[in-house]
Amino acid sequence: MIKNNILGIIFANVHDQLVPELTKKRSMASIPFGSRYRLIDFSLSNLVNAGISKVGIITKSNYNSLLDHLGSGISWDLDRKNGGLFILPPFSTSKAGIFKGHVDALAGIMTFLKRSHEEYVVMCDADVVSNMDIDMLINKHITSDADVTIAYKHGLLADENRNTMELKIGGDGFVENIVLADKQPGEIDYSLDVFVIKREKLIELISNASKNSLTSLSKEVLIPNLHQLKILAVKIDTFAEVVYNTKSYAKISMSLLNKEARENLFNPERPVYTKTRDDMPSRYGLKSDVTNSLIGSGSIIDGSVKNSILFRSVTVGKGAKIENCIIMQGTKIGENCVLKNVIIDKSATISDGVTLMGGADNYVFVDKGKTI
């Protein structure tokens, strides 16, 4: 059923700086992922699969590729008369300049929030690769009468500084305390930064916070107001991984070579939508040798590919040997190349006979459009 009562918001540029190689020419939201997707596809599909048909996307910088990807929103069924897709570029006031955190970003779209008529807002960050049941999240939010509902995951947190919220959850499922989790040993309950909140409540919180020029949703709004707010925590058991840096990007990508992970992320009940391209199916040549790899459409493979992720329209020349690589759309690998532990951005060209070797946890990175 279409839910006309829920507004979706996605933050497209969150933590761009954490993956500098991949965000040089694009936003976090438009980082290519999983052979045919962009990171934003996961959040956007989660919202759409919950029946949400109005989604605002808050952009900040480098959003050319994102606009190109999203178009009218038709691939996500978001080209709508009522609602649909709203791209919300930064609105800079002479006083504040461009926004820094979630709070000033939301303050920048206050007009959009006020003009919307939906009762609830679901907010997510574009840096989470997930397939989660947002519908369930909304229902729990409504029945529990919480002010804010946060989706969380239980597990080890990568040791990178992202100011992730660690939730201390009481027996009733409500949050008792929030701390910023950095380099925490052991498994914790950490926020996936997917929030459900009443629109009026969000407007109230953001209006108050922006009067004081606050920027951080966690540090400056949720933590200080912990005792005035009823915050429900909802555990997510399906695929949900946060991209912290290039290393974690590679790790999450490679996890898709595991069948269980794939079934978890690509659940046919909640398909992941993306912009369609009219490529042929991938063509495997005589003597091609591909094992344990995820391959996008339109690729032409004449060489050997092992434990790798190939995007759409990649060519692999005869005699080439590719192992533990992530090769993005339109890249051409020449004949007899040897590539191991390499991430190659879009439309690069690797000339015949080139050898590139990275370390197991230290990928060699080839920029978009580069020729080697």
Binding site: R36, L265, V272, D278, M280, R283, Y284, S288, I295
Partner: protein
Amino acid sequence: MKKTRCVAMLLAGGQGSRLGVLTQKIAKPAVPYGGKYRIIDFPLSNCINSGIDTVGVLTQYQPLELNDYIGSGKPWDLDRLYGGVHVLPPYQKSKGGDWYKGTANAIYQNMHFIERYNPEYVLILSGDHIYKMDYSKMIEAHEKSNSDATIAVLNVSLEEASRFGIMNANDDDVIYEFEEKPKHPKSTLASMGIYVFKWEKLQKYLLADEQNENSSNDFGKDVIPAMLAAGEKLTVYRFDDYWKDVGTVESLWDANLDLLNPKINLNLSDPNWRIYSRSHALPPHFISNAAQVENSLITDGCEIDGKVDFSILFENVTIEEGAEVDYSLIFPGAVIKKGAKVRYSIIAENAIIEENATVGLSPEECGDSADWGITVVGDNLTIGKGATVGANKMVKENIKGGESL
């Protein structure tokens, strides 16, 4: 009134009975092709690539899936403010209604649709061929020669000629005679079923054809001969690129495997002449450690654990460990279970080949070449564990475990 230069009318009503179980529930133009396409993607993509943005699709036989597939025409950029793609089924009129009696009658019944666009030319297409063709060049040639009708022809071999409608033309390409499947062909110019007419002429001959009680209301059999007899100017337009009729199981199989032949010019993702299709939200395909894939096309959503050679796997196909697929087409959603062997076969949508079952035979295994042929398993059928289906079989119902056909 806005004038449209050319309106295309695509004849998509045929059953395609020679495709047997493959067209039991769908019209021929909706038959899958090349991993992710359907046959109708070719004329529709050719239209938009040729600049033709007004297309009527005449449907009659099992139209549900075809209508659904065409939808608003968005995948082919044929969702237009003016023009666009329109599905035209037969309908009831105040003075009664009729099914489409023949190709010409189908156009006759939809003359008011063409009139809405007030075109100079009408392009008649059929929905059962695989080819990439720039119709705008044909229309240009038609205009330049000031013909009343122009007919696209392909130069075929003399042996093949007796299977086609043959156009006998003078050196200036003007047609003096048409022969349907001649025993002793005088020329080798075979009609491709693609016609450009001056709209005013076509109108005149369609009205006359409808009055003629002896007519079978067919373009090839009635309208073209009538125009020739009346001394109208009919010209051939020579086409010399890839073109294949996919009216039989064997030609459908052949045309698919042609995509694997590097010597055949049939690049469907050529940015200058792309073939569009309606695609689904499917994950990329996965090739496991146990898999071995050579000489094949693999489409989104496939999970491959077995051996695949010289085959085309459509969307969402599963090949389990130890299964072997050779020289076959596996349509969307089909599952080939552990240890099953599929050779020289077409496995239709969502069919299941259970463990250790064998479907089809190679010509060598078959021995007697007269008995050999492509085996077809119908959609949503199950071939039970260890069952055997030989060469040249058309499977229309489930085969129980251990049984042979």
